[in-house]
């Protein structure tokens, strides 16, 4: 029963997405600036959803996502500029390289409990930056110019959809449930026969893979790769997206990534104010709803249709409301 | 001295204490006995302010403890020797004892240290050792010594016999009796019912969050109901 229902769903969703894509093209193709924003929204969706797999679904705390993006970006760029490798293969190479780096960083740190991953991912992102700056062949601190502009909305859109499909398929499966179990309680997960380290590594490497893909798409969109594009602050952008969208919510990440991309563009002139606002939003969300705006919930059609009713009900139990978080230690 | 009235405590959805009422009179040793999970420790934690009851009253010497934060309850003269001893394994024996006197305003600790060391000579030998290196019995002595440094009016003890060999248990209990004879009121939670009843004046028996029996310790010690509650026969 579940199977037939989900099989029917697929073509419907496919058609809807194709129509949306055509609509976007028709609506915005006259303005390259808007097209750029659409592309960025799609790339950020890839980044946010893949980071959510690590942070939201598996409960690890990676804050070096931009580092993996950087690895993917530079490797893909090198592939297409120096070796003239076809675009899609170059993207794949970038993504694989990021995944390998994820494996190397993940294995030593994910064995450990606690917050070491946060600092290790951060440190790793910094190492990546230093290495890039020191390779003259890719432009060092001046940046890597002349990357062919192969990326267009078709690709970013397809890859964003692909990322969402792959990650939501993964999450709704036995290995995905193992990740959820690790997030909830590592000891209990192991007592259920789940190899916690293995699934942490799998989620981390998958996340890195898609971050690398996002990096490849980005540099082939902008025709330039620069070490400053993949700094810690960039990682924070992605983190804000999943916090706003809700840790453990794919639809939340997609919505937040698109929304924040647009807002950031709108506020481009007020860069510092934007960061001030971001940081305050981040703190306020954590203080009031520690699992993010949507929490682990997914947006559904039924849910959206019911919003007015839910809002009405939401008002009543104001006392003690708001903090739904688990009382973890 | 201590009055507990209709105390209700919830842990998440679990109703751990279901309306407990009891009192401790000055100079007495009162014991709460019952099997594991009956709510004994929870009662003590509520008295010390570590858990917030949903409803009920706790008054100590006329003061309502529910309004007082945990660290202030101590300065009123309630000293709690927690279950599992909970000594500071990273502090030396001496420092642990000093922590016991944390809220005292007077600086004159030497005399009290001397008193504690007289009662527990083993602690004096090990005063410079960190708490974590002590044996189970020594840790229990340290936990009691630490609580005594407050010069408490009411000493609350949670399972002092836990994890100790029978000989040590007897030693600890005779010390508890001594402490009481020297003027400290004691509220004792114990699984080792016979031991507890042998030194207590009055006892309450808890079963799954309720007081099911109470009475003078001597009478309860003879009654079959205790045996039944514990050994199931």
């Amino acid at each position: 029963m579940t199977r037939t229902k989900s099989l029917l769903k697929v073509p419907v969703v496919m058609v809807a997405l194709a129509l949306l894509y055509l609509g976007l093209i028709a609506g915005f193709s006259h303005n390259p600036y808007y097209m750029q924003i659409l592309n960025m929204a799609a790339i950020n969706t890839i980044m946010a959803v893949s980071l959510n797999l690590i942070n939201g679904f598996t409960g690890q705390f990676s804050i070096g996502h931009a580092g993996f993006m950087g690895v993917g970006a530079y490797v893909a760029a090198v592939c297409s500029v120096f070796y003239k490798i076809p675009y899609l293969v170059a993207l794949l190479c970038g993504a694989l390289a990021a995944a390998v780096v994820g494996l190397v960083v993940g294995i030593p740190t994910l064995r450990l409990k606690g917050d070491y991953l946060a600092i290790a991912t951060l440190g790793f992102a910094e190492i990546i930056r230093v290495i890039i700056v020191n390779i003259q062949k890719v432009g060092g601190p001046r940046g890597f110019l002349g990357i062919p502009p192969y990326t267009n909305l078709l690709w970013t859109y397809l890859f964003a959809v692909g990322t969402v499909v792959v990650i939501s398929n993964f999450v709704n499966s036995s290995p995905g449930r193992a990740c959820l179990a690790v997030r909830e309680d590592e000891v209990a997960a192991e007592s259920m026969g789940v190899n916690a380290t293995k699934y942490k590594v799998i989620a981390f490497v998958m996340g890195a893979f898609f971050a690398g893909l996002g990096g490849g798409l980005l540099v082939h969109l902008l025709s330039i790769a620069h070490p400053t594009m993949f700094t810690f602050l960039k990682s924070v952008d992605f983190l804000i997206m999943i916090v706003v969208g809700g840790q453990g919510s794919i639809t939340g990440s997609v919505t937040a990534a698109s929304f924040i991309t647009v807002i950031s563009e709108a506020l481009r002139k007020f860069e510092v104010w934007r960061m001030l606002a971001y940081s305050l939003v981040l703190i306020m969300i954590m203080l009031t709803r520690p699992q993010g705006l949507l929490g682990g919930k997914e947006l559904t059609w039924e849910g959206i249709v019911n919003v007015p009713g839910r809002l009405r009900r939401f008002r009543l139990p104001k006392v003690g409301g708001g903090r739904v978080g688990t009382t973890g230690h | 001295m201590l009055e507990v009235k209709d105390l209700n405590v919830f842990y998440g959805g679990i109703h751990a204490l279901k309306g407990i009422t009891f009192s401790v009179r000055e100079g007495q040793v009162v014991t709460l006995i019952g099997a594991n999970g009956a709510g004994k420790s929870t009662t003590l934690r509520a008295i010390s302010g570590l858990v917030k009851p949903r409803s009920g009253e706790i008054t100590f010497m006329g003061q309502n403890l529910l309004q007082v934060p945990a660290h202030k309850i101590v300065s009123l003269g309630v000293s709690h020797v927690p279950e599992g001893r909970r000594i500071f394994a990273n502090l030396t024996v001496l420092e642990n004892l000093e922590m016991g006197a944390y809220t005292r305003k007077d600086k004159n600790l030497d005399e009290d240290l001397k008193r504690v060391f007289k009662r527990f000579p083993r602690l004096e030998e090990r005063r410079r050792q960190v708490g974590g290196t002590l044996s189970g019995g020594e840790q229990q002595m340290l936990a009691i010594g630490r609580a005594l440094m407050l010069k408490p009016k009411l000493l609350v003890m949670d399972e002092p016999s836990m994890g100790l060999a029978p000989l040590l248990v007897r030693e600890i209990f005779s010390i508890i009796k001594e402490i009481n004879e020297q003027g400290t009121t004691i509220l004792l939670v114990e699984q080792n019912a016979h031991m507890a009843l042998s030194i207590a004046d009055y006892a309450y028996v808890l079963e799954t969050g309720r007081i099911v029996t109470e009475g003078p310790a001597e009478e309860l010690a003879k009654s079959e109901s205790i045996r039944k509650a514990y050994l199931g026969h």
Binding site: L180, A181 | M162, M195, H233
Partner: protein, 262 residues
């Protein structure tokens, strides 16, 4: 050959001897209880059996399904579960924010015959296995009267149902040896009665060997065929319930009654 054979199991924590020379041999189908006062080292024994702690000394031999013998010392907790040893926890450790059904499905994790690739590509094996896991999980929930709760977030269940769910989850790993850590904790007399029924019933129904820790003497005395008594890390008595009831050492450990010879 016994299903479980524990030899001289000991562990020290920073100089404190938490468990000393614990020995136990269990035949298939046996129901054995470990009792002892608080802090006697009971849960520590479970933690060593399930690989959470590594014993300082001793061996744990388990007979596997194919009759080969394996030493569990040094094995990781998840491997031990996969070898057929499941447990519940003293202080319930459900996956709190997941649904009841998800909690049970996770227990089927290692039996699922598809990997990450199958999951992502939604291969036929994925659908087949998911259907199987779904059906089996529902079946177990039905048996334990939790089917109508399947979509509830597990932390919202009442206490008794949380305990039951934890048991269901352990059973879903299809164990041969089940370790129950204080299953009756926090239950009222009626619930305890039901629990005793249930323990006997699952032992027969699932052909299990059960080792349980309990404080409620009633439970242990009524349910277990054999009882071990631990006190301050040492096994002070062992035998059938009748023997344990009258054993002076046990009475002393529990009630602190001084027996004549002391």
């Amino acid at each position: 050959m016994a299903l479980l054979d524990i030899k001289d199991l000991s562990i020290n924590f920073g100089g404190l001897r938490a468990v000393t020379d614990f020995n136990l041999s269990m035949q298939e189908g046996e129901l054995v209880g470990i009792i002892g006062p608080n802090g006697a080292g009971k849960t520590t024994v479970f933690n060593m059996l399930t690989g959470v702690y590594r014993p300082t000394k001793g061996e744990i031999f388990l007979k596997r399904r194919d009759d080969s013998i394996v030493n569990l010392v040094g094995k990781k907790p998840f491997t031990i579960t996969q070898m057929g040893v499941a447990r519940t926890f003293q202080n319930i450790r459900l996956f709190k924010d997941l649904t009841v059904l998800q909690n049970v499905k996770i227990a089927h994790h290692f039996s699922a015959k598809y990997g990450v690739g199958g999951a992502v590509l939604r291969t036929p094996a994925y659908f087949k296995e998911e259907q199987r896991i779904h059906d089996e999980a529902l079946k177990l929930l039905r048996i334990f009267g939790l089917e109508n709760r399947k979509d509830e977030i597990s932390k919202n269940l009442p206490y008794g149902e949380q305990r039951r769910l934890e048991l269901v989850r352990a059973l879903a790993t299809s164990p041969r040896l089940l370790l129950l850590d204080e299953p009756a904790a926090g239950m009222n007399p009626q619930e305890i009665k039901d629990l005793m029924e249930m323990i006997r019933w699952i032992r027969n129904e699932f052909q299990l060997t059960i080792l349980l820790i309990e404080h409620h003497m009633e439970v242990v005395m009524n349910v277990c065929e054999r009882i071990l008594v631990l006190d301050y890390g040492l096994t002070i008595a062992q035998g059938c319930p009748e023997e344990i009831k009258t054993n002076p050492k046990v009475i002393e450990a529990y009630l602190g009654e001084v027996v004549e010879d002391a």
